[in-house]
Symmetry: C2
């Protein structure tokens, strides 16, 4: 378990729900909130910057980090691996910065185990029909792929009980406002404000 003064927010959602758009908007507009930068063994794409988009590492380095329990969570996708580094997260949190993890649901559960007081937020599509039309609207997936994604979405949705907050992405503006409110409210929690309150009390 990590000890920290910043907050960890985990945002998870079925594919196609609009999570990444909202996550980018949050990090841009909310002060003192940064994205978690993941480690990966895949090669940088043109324009990607090491330390900003990802920490690009080779397989041997990734293996060593796994062996040393250096990840809060990691996954393997088509022989490329992606992981959230413990030390990096801890540094950010120690400095009082809040971290947003935009992460799929299996990784989210791993983070929850490593950081029990992480604030777990699940973004939901308004309905199956709406998610299907959003997935088809991307235009780059076959009907078979859409069907597979919908099946997996149902599986993810069935686990909504493991999240602290549930936000339906009916409109981007409303969903954004709710996500932002969750962050602002979390920062007002007594556990987070105890030192400030103590300092005010001592002024009396």
């Amino acid at each position: 378990m990590l000890s920290h003064s910043g907050n960890v927010f985990v945002l998870s959602a079925p594919s196609g729900t609009g999570k990444s758009t909202l996550a980018r908007q949050l990090v841009k507009q909310v002060t003192d909130l940064n994205f978690s930068v993941s480690f990966t063994t895949r090669r940088p794409r043109p324009g990607e910057v090491d330390g900003r988009d990802y920490f690009f590492v080779d397989d041997a380095t990734f293996d060593r980090m796994v062996a040393e329990d250096g990840f809060v969570e990691w996954v393997s996708v088509y022989e490329r691996r992606y992981g959230t580094g413990k030390a990096w997260i801890q540094e950010q949190l120690a400095s009082g910065t809040d971290i947003l993890l935009d992460i799929e649901s299996k990784g989210a559960r791993q983070v929850h185990k490593a950081i029990p007081d992480a604030v777990m937020v699940f973004l939901l599509p308004p309905s199956s029909g709406e998610l299907a039309s959003r997935l088809r609207g991307r235009g780059d997936e076959s009907e078979e792929q859409v069907r597979i994604r919908l099946d997996y979405a149902r599986h993810e949705l069935s686990q909504f009980d493991s999240y602290d907050y549930l936000v339906v992405n009916d409109t981007v503006d409303q969903a954004y406002r709710k996500l932002e409110s969750i962050i602002i409210a979390t920062r007002c929690r007594r556990e987070r404000m105890g030192k400030t309150a103590q300092r005010i009390l001592e002024s009396f």
Copy 2:
């Protein structure tokens, strides 16, 4: 304990912190949030409306309600009594409306006992000096009264541990935004959103 579908928000603060201004703004601007209307044995002042500002009752009625355990909390101030009626609160909450209680700290603790999942919010002045100058700025209190209020404020502040959220009223705009965020975030909590999530899941 009350069973309900709406949320109860309790806003408490030392006298002079600016609680009532913020509470009025919240009820005006946040949808589906109503003030709790208290019962009182004092006479209506000009312009006050029964059922809107207070429920005005006689001593015998108030006595009966106390005997029948009809109050979530009640206090006696200079022989006038004020109380929050259980049945009324329950009706509001059953209809799905959220209730805001603008209440002093002793009453707040009573509410917390009667409604354990009430969301307890404590508003703090930025400092002793700032509270003193706000109290003096009212112009209608003697130095002795200001001193008594500051003493009692310290006592109230020392109990900040019994609240869920702590909000410092440094500027009204910032404090308002935080209070509003606490309400919006609470409405997104899994316990409150479970039915919606279940309905979405069943659409898959």
